[in-house]
């Protein structure tokens, strides 16, 4: 590792919100109590598909302690909303449904009462007459001609189609000397945020709504709520001081936010709605389950020629963010390789089950499970070294993904070398133990303005007080990923001050500039750029004053570092930053120094301004007779450009690994008859400390010109490779090809048994 040229960046610092979090002082929406607050509970559909004929809540209203009952038909504008505001067809969810339910758990009515218990008891007193309709919960069934229609106007339940292509696929397949095709099946996965969906809405008779909520994007929720409630955006204040996890599940409007708001508007009192863990499982969306067909053609020397994929995704009852997942899975299915010709046809299908949406990796983990295993099998079929085959076809700096993206920085080659070296160092492993590897790449800030925001993607305001303390106002959202610390570090580095000088203000739409929020791995790059620009703007103003004050020849350049304002040519000559601040404010008639910054990607293709690369290795022991997997070690070679927040980076990568291993092995989320079969933490298996392998991270040194200080994505992309790496380890240890994720122990044991029986014959 080269010496750190920065004084704040890439050092180990305490998270700026750490003290509050380790002392129990951090107040989450879950902890918010307001004077006179009521508690809301949601009545949910027991049917996967039914018409609502009548809702009778008269008995519930008579129940002592019940203050209000709301239904979609009587108490809402019935606005169908969605995050794809540019495409009205895809705004298909009313949240509190008006006439029809389309999945088990869909909100049907909501009650506000003086206690949570009374609200819950009152739910039993609401009578709903349903006309139960035939339902379908699998996409391959839902596209059949006689399948029940879930949304009017969406024939054969096809919700969205997406195509990506370049090159002449037919011709490229003809050039191929070896073609392999496989079908894969990918399961859903639950975000399982430790803090369930929660909101405390407080509507006051002056027409203003304040809402505390657990969100990945305060601004999105401000705008989405304005749309469904008929309020001006500016009259809604969204507060999200601490958020107990998001992972892609908390930037759509949810039942807690909507029902708390509608109830509060009816009562003019604060109303708190917190999902139980079971509600969170059945009614807060999931990673998109998919059927994946992959056909790949290569030359005998391992050169990639063509790839074709057809994908059917189980969209569940509504669109949500699912249309983007459909696009991104197709795009990242090509990653991180160069294909002469590539064709992806994706179909998102409505079904009567929990809606599917974005989740960490955003469609890519599904794609990589298929792609990276098939590549391994092809190398094996052809007797080629799989790492060299990947290297031969990999992206490189300057490569253009035809019509899609230009790769400005790429550490794939070095990452492959690092993993190759680690693999070699392990030597020969004992029986039933093998190393599986997988490569991946990911975006660094999604360029999708489906939301049609008129604001910059990210904005920041830096205000310098007379004592040198700095107020950093950003709309970025801290959800645990560490962005408040990362942005504070960028601000401190750019200004040349200490991290302790920075106070970060985020998670409050009244006091932070708009920002699209925490999704698509965008905060470090986009909010980071905006922060850097704002800090540099403020610094420029300070230096103007310093120039005047210090009286150097104008040919000299000034800078600030670690609180010292100095002449770059003569660093010992200068003055204290803190003294400078005091005087600079006087020079501005007492006004504070304010710097502004923003970032909106331009001319950066359709997906992202930059891409991260990684190669993942897993050392796995398999008990093939039972299907039990023990992961001994996880090693990641990772190119995220310039590391900013050292501890945060390691934490993000380890956290991603835990979630990715869950996707690959533990986190089975079965749906039968439209019903999630394990909506609790006893039956839904989350990896725990004893099972979590040690993780080693090898940083690959690259510089991303579009990123702040050369930084790019870390933390989301690493959800992509583990499932395939697990599959590849199983393949080398047992010869089995596992085509369904999560790879279930039972499936391994069964395949092993069948293989042995076949061998006996």
């Amino acid at each position: 590792m080269s010496e750190n040229k920065y004084s704040v960046l890439n050092t180990r610092v305490h998270n700026v919100d750490g003290h509050a979090k380790v002392t129990g002082r951090a107040t989450y929406t879950f902890d918010v109590t307001l004077p006179g607050m009521l508690y809301g509970k949601i009545l949910r559909s027991p049917h996967p598909h039914a018409k609502i004929l009548k809702i009778d809540y008269s008995e519930a209203l008579k129940f002592p302690g019940v203050i209000a009952v709301v239904t979609g038909k009587e108490d809402t504008l019935g606005v169908k909303q969605g995050i794809w505001r540019r495409y009205k067809d895809l705004c298909d969810e009313a949240i509190l449904t008006v006439d029809k339910v389309r999945y088990i758990g869909e909100p049907v009515a909501a009650v506000a009462a003086v206690s949570e218990e009374i609200a819950e008891q009152a739910l039993d007193l609401i009578n709903v007459d349903y006309e139960v309709l035939p339902f379908v919960d699998d996409p391959m069934e839902a596209i059949k001609k006689d399948a029940p229609l879930i949304h009017e106007g969406f024939e054969r339940n096809v919700n969205v189609t997406r195509q990506i292509s370049w090159g002449d696929v037919e011709e490229a397949f003809e050039e191929a000397e070896y073609v392999r095709e496989d079908w894969f099946k990918l399961g859903g996965q639950h975000h399982m945020c430790m803090e369930t969906r929660a909101a405390v809405a407080n509507y006051t008779p002056d027409g203003k709504l304040t809402i505390y909520t657990s969100t990945q994007s305060a601004y999105y929720h401000q705008a989405l709520l304005a749309g469904v409630l008929g309020l001006r955006e500016g009259n809604i204040r969204v507060l999200a001081p601490y958020v107990g996890g998001g992972f892609g599940g908390k930037f759509e409007l949810d039942g807690a936010q909507f029902c708390a708001s509608v109830l509060s508007m009816k009562c003019c009192k604060p109303v708190k709605v917190v999902f139980s863990r079971e509600e969170d499982f059945i009614a807060s969306k999931r990673r998109t389950p998919m059927y994946y067909y992959v056909r790949t053609g290569v030359k005998k020397d391992g050169t990639f020629c063509a790839r074709e994929a057809k994908v059917f995704t189980n969209g569940g009852a509504y669109t949500g963010m699912g249309a983007t997942a459909l696009y991104l899975t197709g795009f990242f299915h090509s990653f991180p390789y160069r294909w002469k010709a590539y064709r992806y046809d994706g179909y998102r299908v409505y079904t009567n089950s929990l809606p599917s949406t974005s989740m960490r990796g955003f469609g890519a983990p599904q794609a990589m499970f298929c792609s990276e295993q098939q590549i391994e099998w092809i190398a094996n079929d052809l007797g080629l070294d799989p790492i060299e085959m990947r290297r031969k076809n990999g992206h490189y700096e300057g490569y253009e993904v035809p019509g899609q993206a230009t790769i400005a920085s790429c550490g794939l080659d070095q990452a492959l070398t690092a993993i190759q070296k680690w693999k070699t160092s392990k030597g020969k492993l004992p029986k039933n133990r093998a190393i599986g590897i997988s490569a991946a790449g990911f975006m660094s800030g999604g360029i999708f303005n489906w939301f049609d925001s008129p604001y910059s993607f990210s904005s920041a305001v830096v205000t310098i007080n007379h004592d040198g303390t700095v107020e950093l106002h950003v709309g970025a959202q801290e959800i645990g990923q560490g962005s408040s610390t990362t942005l504070a570090m960028i601000c401190a580095e750019a200004l040349g001050v200490k991290l302790e000088d920075i106070k970060v203000h985020m998670g409050d739409t009244d006091h932070s500039p708009a920002d699209l929020g925490a999704w698509g791995s965008r905060q470090t790059l986009m909010a980071g750029n905006a922060t850097k620009m704002a800090a540099e703007d403020a610094k420029k103003q300070l230096l103007e004053f310093a120039n005047a004050k210090l009286g150097f020849n104008i040919i000299y350049d000034l800078d600030i570092k670690q609180g010292w304002v100095y002449n770059v040519a003569r660093p010992e000559r200068g003055m204290s930053y803190y003294d400078l601040c005091k005087e600079a404010l006087r020079g501005k008639e007492g006004q504070r120094i304010i710097g502004r910054g923003f970032y909106t990607p331009r001319r950066k293709g359709m997906i992202s301004p930059a891409y991260s690369y990684m190669v993942q290795g897993l050392d796995v022991e398999i008990d093939p007779e039972t299907g039990y997997l023990k992961i001994h070690e996880s090693v990641t070679a990772h190119d995220c450009g310039q590391p900013i927040n050292t501890l945060g980076l390691i934490g993000q990568l380890e956290g991603a690994a835990s979630m990715a291993i869950g996707f690959g092995y533990y986190e089975y989320l079965p749906v039968e008859d439209g019903k999630i079969m394990n909506p609790n933490l006893v039956d839904y298996k989350l990896i725990r400390a004893p099972e979590m392998p040690s993780c080693q991270v090898i940083e690959i040194d690259t510089y991303e010109p579009e990123g702040p200080y050369g930084a790019k994505e870390a933390g989301e992309g690493l959800t992509n490779p583990h499932a395939a790496a697990l599959g590849n380890a199983i393949f080398y240890a047992t010869g089995l090809q596992m085509k369904e994720a999560p790879i279930r122990a039972e499936a391994i044991a069964k395949a092993w048994k069948e293989k042995n029986e076949k061998a006996k014959k």
């Binding site: 218990e117 008891q121 007779e625 092995y665 089975y668 079969m677 394990n678 990896i687 004893p690 039972e746």
Partner: protein
């Protein structure tokens, strides 16, 4: 949401038994409550009276002597068993079992009596204690009686206890010579309940012939069950890998598991076979090493 109940906190076993006699079917007993409170919260269990025996220290003990064997009072916590020196020395399998029973938090508060009375067929202690030939002492206002653990369970969440009876103690005979017990549950997360579990106790004679075998299956039927056909495969024989394999096959046939989202019936039978084979061999190997 837990339904309301009247909370009773007896100061002695006698008082507890009197309360049980008075309220019979209208009451439930809570001890550590690590399982009971979950089902009460789900609304699956409602009760008019809840008798809390957690504080009954007269049932909180671990006693051992070579003649009478081990006696564990009902309100003894899992953690106390896990950390008991005498149990570690005499019944190491019990300590191993407790290590992987849920989490430290649960073991700190949960009790052996509560666990056995809850009668979850996936519970860890029952198969191990049954393999160790344990007996449960139960009491009521009318008196006390003992029930061998392999007759204690009648159905899922059902025991042979009459209304008004309370688990007082678990009794485990002193270990016989050249006897070893092995236990394993199969799960993906090591302290989860077992998808299936197998405990095997094997006694061999000086020549290495199997004198006695007790094979107990967890979560392979509505209660933990003895695999008597599998035991018969081993008893009276010089033990070999082929016999362990056969015992496994017998166990996988005689168990009565049901399929659920965690495992199909077929997979559970398969796992029972594999684990029976492995545990029988493990117990045998340990017994061989004993003097």
């Amino acid at each position: 949401m837990i339904h309301d109940f009247t909370y009773l906190q007896p100061g002695s076993v006698k008082e507890a038994l009197a309360m049980l006699a008075e309220h019979k079917d209208d009451c439930k007993v809570i001890c550590g409550g690590q399982s009971l409170l979950i089902v009460m919260r789900q609304g699956l269990v409602q009760t008019e009276y809840l008798i809390d025996i957690k504080g009954l220290n007269e049932l909180n003990y671990i006693k051992y002597d070579d003649k009478g064997g081990l006696k564990i009072g009902a309100t003894t916590t899992h953690r106390a068993i896990e950390k008991s020196d005498v149990i570690a020395k005499k019944y190491p399998v019990l300590v191993d079992m407790e290590h992987k029973l849920a989490s430290i938090q649960v073991r700190n508060w949960g009790t052996i009596g509560g666990n056995l009375a809850h009668a979850d067929s996936a519970g860890d202690p029952a198969p191990v204690l049954t393999a160790l030939n344990a007996t449960v002492k139960v009491g009521s206002a009318k008196g006390e009686r003992t029930i061998p653990l392999d007759e204690f369970y009648t159905d899922l969440f059902e025991t042979a206890m009459e209304p008004g009876e309370l688990v007082l103690e678990v009794q485990v005979p002193a270990p016989a010579p050249k006897t070893a017990t092995a236990y394993q549950k199969f799960n993906l997360l090591e302290s989860d309940q077992g998808i299936v579990a197998v405990a095997v106790s094997i006694t061999i004679d000086a020549g290495g012939t199997c004198k006695e075998a007790r094979i107990v299956l967890g979560n392979a039927a509505s209660t933990s069950i003895r695999a008597k056909n599998a035991e018969a495969v081993l008893v009276g024989k010089k033990l070999t890998d082929a016999l362990f394999e056969k015992a496994g096959e017998a166990a996988s046939q005689e168990c009565e598991p049901v399929g659920d989202i965690h495992a199909s019936e077929e997979y559970r039978r398969h796992l029972i076979g594999v684990l029976t084979r492995r545990m029988a061999k493990a117990a045998f190997e340990q017994a061989k090493k004993m003097g």
